[in-house]
Amino acid sequence: MTGVGLEHYLVVSAALFCLGLLGVVIRRNLIVMYMSLELMLNAATLALVAFSHFQPPTPHGSPLDGQIMVFFIITVAAAEVAVGLALIVALYRKRQTTDVADLTSMKL
């Protein structure tokens, strides 16, 4: 009976990160790309919680440091989503599209 170790969680986290990256690369809808970005952030979150759980006791630092970091990641992600969606709405007002293939005005 082999226990579920740190590696298992890290592999799940890596797979989730790659799914998110794939979504950012192949999808062309801005909102779906943004959701894929959230997936990538969540993958990093999962890795940090796993590190925090499996950390051996150390003289300096608390085993809960990873969870504190996740707390900050969640806060920053919420702020990021709010600003990013406001940007998308502003862009949609100007251009009436959310397809990144149509947003080429900065192309040389």
């Binding site: 226990g3 579920v4 590696e7 298992h8 969680y9 890290l10 592999v11 890596a14 797979a15 989730l16 790659c18 799914l19 998110g20 990256l21 794939l22 979504g23 690369v25 192949i26 062309r28 809808n29 909102i31 779906v32 959701m35 894929s36 959230e38 997936l39 969540n42 979150t45 999962l46 919680v49 796993a50 925090s52 759980h53 499996f54 051996p56 006791p57 608390s62 809960l64 440091d65 969870q67 504190i68 996740v70 707390f71 969640i74 920053v76 992600a77 919420a78 702020a79 990021e80 989503v81 709010a82 600003v83 969606l85 406001a86 998308i88 709405v89 502003a90 007002r93 959310t98 293939a101």
Partner: protein
Amino acid sequence: MEILFYIFSALTLLCGALVVFNPFSRNPVTSAMFLVLTIICMSGLFVLLKAFFLAAVQILVYAGAVIVLFLFVIMLMNIKEEERQRFRKFGTFLGAAAVAGLAWILVTTVMNSRTGERSVANNTGETKELGELLFTNYVLPFEIVSLLLLVAMVGCILLSRPEQAPEPIETEEETE
């Protein structure tokens, strides 16, 4: 416990893939719904890792606030069924190949790294300890994050303001 890990991680990855590929419809609303399922399965994984506070925060903040924001924006824009565009075969293939390479590197790195003697540590995420740590060692980042939220709020208001708003300010400056 182990069967729960496998169930939750398989569900997380399945729902994550459905967010990205979304074979059921072209509407981003279904992607957002699958993102909710992904978040809930991930908070199940957090419970397995004994991070109870973070599991609750994950559901509250992501499923409760972030996804609602996504749905609001989708419905605000009133996007019709996005027509299936021409499938850029070359770009998709190249992107998938690059991501597969990254996945291979990550997994082999995790497998080859010696993570010690399978330390079955039972570090629990007690809410009390977490709060104490947040207000002692991490009080400066905590305050900075609160400032960041304020800045984000101001930025959202500024970005979503109607465009003819700045004009009266200019006329006031001219009269001065």
